[in-house]
Amino acid sequence: MAIVETKGLTKVYGTGETAVTALDAVDLSLDPGEFVAVMGPSGCGKSTLLNLVGGLDTPTSGTVTIDGREISQLSDDEITRLRRERIGFVFQFFNLIPVLSAVENAALPLILDRGGSARAAAKAEEWLERVGLEDRRANRPDQLSGGQQQRVAVARALVTEPALVLADEPTGNLDSKSSEEIATLLRQVSSEWGRAILMVTHDPRIAAHADRIVFMRDGRIVDDTKIAGAESARDAMERVGLL
């Protein structure tokens, strides 16, 4: 069964003359553990799609089903719970609370869930280790590089062991080396730790880490391609003229 499924998902901002259809009848589904990249020009509705899937915003029409539960039926508190327990978020900016250390930031969702803070810290440290930041656990965000900050954000997104991770341009703010590291990390999140990922990106090299790419234009999905495990490198080499 799909972990996320949208049906006819539509979002219209504003009314009358100034109405903008940011998302137009989008059908999309993600299998558990699937890594999907969303690409498309600026303003085509990628963030809107992500926000609706994450229950951060409410659709004008259409449905979002997560784990078999349709989220438009849920109250604000229930959606909040769902986000806390089943979804991890990684944003482009403002990911971390500046006054908390790396491990505290990573533990936040558990702490918000009233988890015992010792247990929360232990889990957070475990995840920090997995993202390769065990020696930075006590540092505050301003003492971390952009890439390290995003890794803390990934650790935080995973600490509740969610089924789905939503990432809106997680590398938009990083240099290419750090971007590559984060993309590799996300790849690992999907293949090794089995989380489904829906990631918005502009960067083909980042998108190339995904299993599938969804191309959007003007609020619609125009193409949806599986890119993992299809062709040999030889074919690729030939096509780019190295052979």
Binding site: L56, R83, R84
Partner: protein
């Protein structure tokens, strides 16, 4: 520790200056409330103790309710009651001693006792010499007195020495025949004389100030006390000794003022906290949105901010309590020092009752948390999506404009009310004006700053323009600050206006009073309780002095109307009209003064009429030592000296009949036409030397004294006004500091593109000046009507003054406003100038 506390602590620690300023706002209010309420009970307790000590071991004490003198034969009624072993009249009066260097005291209580009966009621342990005896009653013999050993020591007297005490008929010289070991109330020095002698001294023959009685062994105290009450009838207070009511009232008024000051400071603190938290919420918008996205509920966000306000409240209140304790301790020490010279006290104790703790903590915490609630709710409404959006400035702007219109409407309504002439409406109008102007403040920021910044831009063009743009960019925050400054300075202006009116009014009265050439008045200015009067000799002596023409005397007794203690002033209508000028209320004239010949007629001053809600032609029931009497108000008028207290004027015959008072407390005299005034003054001076508790003034000297007095009064008021404005200084400081923090990046950028430290400093100072200018302008506009409201309202309680345009007050207000602008700018300007460019640019 919970995440909320962790976050609150870390966020606050990350913004030390802002946290300190916000904390200070609460500290001030809590300190005043806690400190004063901690001092007041100590003072009251101390006073009560002194009173109790003065009663000593007396079982029962009977006094007239008005503390007026009464017939000493009441003692017989008391003595006749079952269960009373003995009862004796006592005449207790405070006198001001002529200044004599070796006396070390300025006041002494003369206590007239019956040497025969009194020792049955109270013990007089003799230390040296002897106790008074029956033979000492003889008024023709050489007067003798007995004094407590402590008084003897303080005044440097020993048995056999002479003690000069002012009396109605001039000074009286006593021989000290004994000293007593009896405990003396800490406040006073005492001298015991025989009752007839005392009555003679104070021109109160046959009268007593109290009856002291002792119970029979085994008698039930309450039953006896009740029986005594029945025996003496209405108009007497039995048992307890009422504290000296004027002093107690003084303390209570001071207490109220401090509490109001404290509340005001807290309200300002609330303003500051509101300001701070609004900024905090805006600043952490992204953090909040992110928290919401990763699963924090609205309630958790609300909790986060309330926790922070709680931490802030605990911090501020805790420090406030500490500061309050310090304040109380210092005050108590100061008071002990101050009063210790006059009265013998060991020390003032500060005492913090449970209710004081509860009051201070509740108000401190309450003000903090309440002020944080609105911003906290706003924070809980932030959606996760807001985290990713830039701030929406124009929404803010629209709301401010709407509020501006509401404010304008309120100001218009208030103006209508102020002009209505109706006291109630005027009061309400004053309040509405402040509310309206506060609401309108944020909308008015732009046009007013546009106007004022022109001045600054003349001198510093770039800094001025930038400062203006900064303020206009955040009209909400600027509006709150302007409101705080405005309300403070409106109060300053209001108080100044009131001061101008009151001082001006009294000066006018004083001038009228000095239509008289000479005044002979007691050392203390007011006619009050224990003041010694003078017998007819003094007026006679004045009259017979060469060059003196018309002479009028004033006599005084206390009385009670309903719950109100009033003064009864006895005048001779005919004499009085010749010498003094009354300031008649509308509809009254000299003809009404003449009506006092009828003993049932009185004149009433404005304060009396206002507080008893009576008018010319009404009747009032006045409690006299002879029981309740009904008088008709023949007319209304004020004389200068008694204008502050509710006073009725009666004929001197009526005063003698009903109150048994024949002593003069004030003599007014005019020189004969063509007499050499200076010469007359000199000979009058010689005459008055025989009456050491009185002082002689000529018109000029009198006016001088009054002016000095008002000068002091003005200074007190002005100081009060400036103190009132201090919280607004904090508000200003807070806003500037927040502004500097919020624009750290921008300032860094300015520095990077070549702004000098000095220019950055100027920028902040310019902003401060603009804020203060807007606040001050608004404060002046609101303050003058507020002053008008205050003058009207004190007029409504009987102190009629004309509204005077408070020029000095306005100047002082402007100076205070500008001074604050500079003071408030110092710290933030230095901070801004010191910013490390690189770090500032990296600042998020």
């Amino acid at each position: 520790m919970s995440i909320s506390f962790t976050l609150a602590r870390r966020y606050m620690a990350g913004r030390k200056l802002r946290t300190a300023l916000t904390t200070l706002a609460i500290v001030l209010g809590v300190m005043l409330i806690f400190g004063f309420n901690g001092t007041l009970p100590g003072m009251m307790e101390w006073m009560r103790k002194s009173m109790l000590a003065s009663v000593g071991e007396v079982d029962l004490n009977v006094q007239s309710a008005s503390s007026a003198l009464f017939d000493q034969r009441v003692a017989d009624k008391v003595a006749a009651v079952d269960g009373v072993a003995a009862a004796t009249p006592v005449l207790r009066r405070n006198v001001t001693l002529p200044e004599k260097p070796d006396y070390h005291t300025t006041g002494i209580t003369v206590i007239g006792i019956d040497p025969v009966v009194s020792p049955d009621v109270r013990s007089y342990p003799v230390a040296e010499g002897r106790m008074l005896a029956a033979s000492d009653d003889d008024t023709n013999a050489r007067p003798v007195a007995v004094i407590p050993a402590s008084t003897a020591e303080k005044m440097g007297l020993a048995v056999g020495d002479e003690l000069v005490v002012p009396a109605a008929s001039g000074a009286m010289t006593f021989e000290v025949v004994g000293t007593l070991d009896s405990p003396v109330p800490p406040a006073t020095d005492e001298v015991y004389v025989s009752l007839p002698l005392a009555q003679d001294m104070f021109a109160a023959p046959g009268r007593a100030s109290a009856i002291e009685a002792a119970f029979e062994g085994g008698a039930d105290e309450e039953t006896v006390q009740e029986a005594v009450g029945d025996a003496v009838g209405d108009g007497y207070v039995i048992g307890s000794v009422t504290a000296d009511s004027t002093l107690a009232a003084g303390f209570e008024v001071a207490g109220t003022i401090f509490n109001v000051l404290g509340l005001f400071a807290l309200a300002m603190g609330g303003f500051i906290i509101l300001n701070t938290f609004r900024t905090i919420v805006a600043e952490r918008r992204h953090d909040i949105g992110m928290l919401r996205a990763i699963g924090a509920s609205r309630r958790q966000i609300l909790g986060l901010f309330l926790t922070e306000s709680l931490v802030q409240g605990v911090l501020g209140t805790g420090l406030g309590l500490l500061a309050g304790w310090g304040f109380a301790t210092v005050t108590a020490a100061g008071m002990s020092e101050l009063v210790g010279d006059l009265m013998r006290i060991e020390s003032f104790e500060t005492s913090f009752s449970v209710s004081t703790w509860v009051l201070a903590i509740t108000l401190g915490m309450g003000a903090t948390v309440l002020s944080a609630i609105l911003p906290a709710i706003a924070a809980s409404r932030i959606t996760p999506l807001d985290a990713m959006r830039p701030q929406l400035g124009d929404v803010y702007e629209k709301a401010a404009t709407k509020r501006g219109w509401v404010g304008l409407a309120l100001v218009a309504i208030a103006a209508g009310m102020l002009l209505s002439g109706n006291d109630g409406l005027i009061g309400l109008g004053g309040l509405l004006l402040l509310v309206g102007m506060s609401l309108g403040a944020s909308a008015a920021v732009k046009p007013i700053t546009d106007f004022f910044s022109r001045g600054i831009e003349l001198v510093y063009r770039r800094e001025g323009a930038l400062a203006r743009a900064n303020l206009q960019r955040n009209p909400g925050r600027a509006g709150v600050t302007v409101s705080a400054v405005m309300i403070s300075l409106a109060l300053v202006t209001g108080i100044m206006t009131m001061t101008a009116a009151v001082v001006g009014g009294y000066a006018e009265y004083a001038e009228k009073a000095t239509g008289t050439d000479y005044l002979v008045i007691p050392q203390g200015l007011m006619l009050s309780g224990g003041m010694v009067g003078a017998g007819p000799e003094m007026a006679e002596a004045v009259r017979s002095t060469e060059g003196v023409g018309d002479v009028a005397t004033l006599r005084y007794a206390p009385a009670v109307v309903g719950d109100l203690t009033v003064q009864v002033v006895g005048i001779d209508a005919e004499e009085y009209a010749k010498v003094a000028s009354f300031r008649y209320s509308e509809g009254s004239s000299d003809a009404d003064l003449a009506k006092l010949a009828d003993p049932d007629m009185v004149l009433a001053n404005a304060s009396f009429r206002a507080q008893t809600k009576t008018a010319k032609g009404d009747t009032v029931e006045v409690m006299t030592p002879e029981g309740a009497r009904t008088f008709t108000i023949a007319g209304g008028g004020n004389d200068y000296i008694n204008a502050k207290l509710p006073t009725v004027y009666v004929s001197q015959e009526a005063l003698a009949d009903l109150w048994g008072v024949t002593a003069d407390v004030m003599v007014l005299a005019n020189a004969t036409e063509g007499a050499d005034k200076a010469a007359v003054l000199q000979s009058l001076g010689a005459t008055i030397d025989g009456f050491p508790s009185f002082k002689l003034y000529d018109a000029l000297a009198w006016q001088q004294v009054q002016n000095d007095l008002f000068g002091q009064l003005e200074i007190v008021y002005y100081t009060l006004a400036v103190v009132l404005a201090i919280p607004s200084l904090l508000a200003l400081l807070n806003t500037l500091a927040i502004g500097v923090l919020a624009r750290t990046r921008e300032i860094g950028m300015l520095r990077a593109v070549g702004a000098t430290r000095r220019q950055v400093k100027r920028l902040v100072v310019a902003e401060s000046f603009l804020l203060a200018a807007v606040g001050t302008a608004a404060g002046l506009v609101a303050g003058v009507p507020l002053g008008y409201v205050i003058v009207r309202s004190i007029g409504a309680v009987g102190l009629e003054f004309d509204f005077v345009w408070p020029t000095t007050g306005l100047v002082v207000t402007v100076i205070v406003g500008l001074l604050f602008a500079v003071l408030a700018a110092i710290i933030p300007a230095r901070q801004a100038a010191r910013l490390d460019v690189i770090r500032a640019l990296r600042y998020e």
